[in-house]
């Protein structure tokens, strides 16, 4: 399955968001997620299913002002 992760196409085998994040290398990272522009809270990641062509945003703390 191909999904758009932070603007870049990536392949993932898992359709479940939690597992897809692990597969993509975000396993233990402190991140927040959105799928197709909708916020997906941590508690809902395991029940969130991804589909081919979905847009996944993975955001983390960064410097800013």
């Amino acid at each position: 399955m191909k999904i758009l992760v932070n603007g870049a196409w990536r392949d993932t085998r898992s359709a479940e968001l939690t597992r897809a994040l692990e597969e993509l290398g975000y396993g233990s990272a402190v991140v927040s997620t959105a799928v197709n522009g909708e916020f997906v809270p941590l508690a809902q990641r395991a029940e969130t299913r991804l589909a081919d062509g979905d847009r996944l945003e993975v955001l983390a703390p960064m410097q800013g002002g």
């Binding site: 932070n6 990272a29 991140v31 522009g37 916020f39 941590l42 983390a60 703390p61 002002g65």
Partner: protein, 138 residues
């Protein structure tokens, strides 16, 4: 003593965290300024680099309050989604709400800002709006 929502602060200084030469100098600056609040942001995280994880560890070690922003958002919808993501990651209801109307000058879109602020306040966020000096908008 400054009171913002229910929080009392001894210092009025809110220190930005961008563009320091190194994390060590950022930490020194926060300590030297005796800042109680630093501003932070959310950006796309690369799985390989994980730059955000190290930054967040540094901020937590400093023991200061954080004020996340919605920098880079151009619509109410984007700003509200980013605010939700920030609340989860940073564990604070505070949000410096930015809805940008014009990229070159970073002028705020005050119409989108007011709509987003209304929505977020209703959800329990404590909003710090990035706005113009227009008192009617404020």
């Amino acid at each position: 003593m400054l009171q913002i929502y229910q929080t009392q602060l001894r210092s009025r200084l809110m220190l930005g965290t961008a563009r320091y030469p190194s994390p060590a100098i950022l930490a020194e600056a926060v300590r030297a300024a005796r800042a109680e609040v630093v501003t932070v942001s959310l950006r796309r995280e690369s799985a390989g680099e994980r730059a955000g994880q190290a930054f967040w560890s540094l901020i937590r070690e400093l023991g200061v309050r954080v004020l996340p922003n919605t920098a880079g958002c151009h619509s109410m919808k984007e700003a509200v989604t980013t605010a939700h993501m920030a609340r989860e990651v940073f564990g604070t209801p505070w949000i410096k709400l930015e809805v940008i109307g014009e990229d070159d000058t970073l002028q705020p879109d005050v119409f989108g800002l007011v709509d987003a602020a209304r929505s977020l306040c209703a959800e329990g966020f404590e909003v710090f709006p990035y706005t113009t000096e227009d008192l009617v908008v404020a």
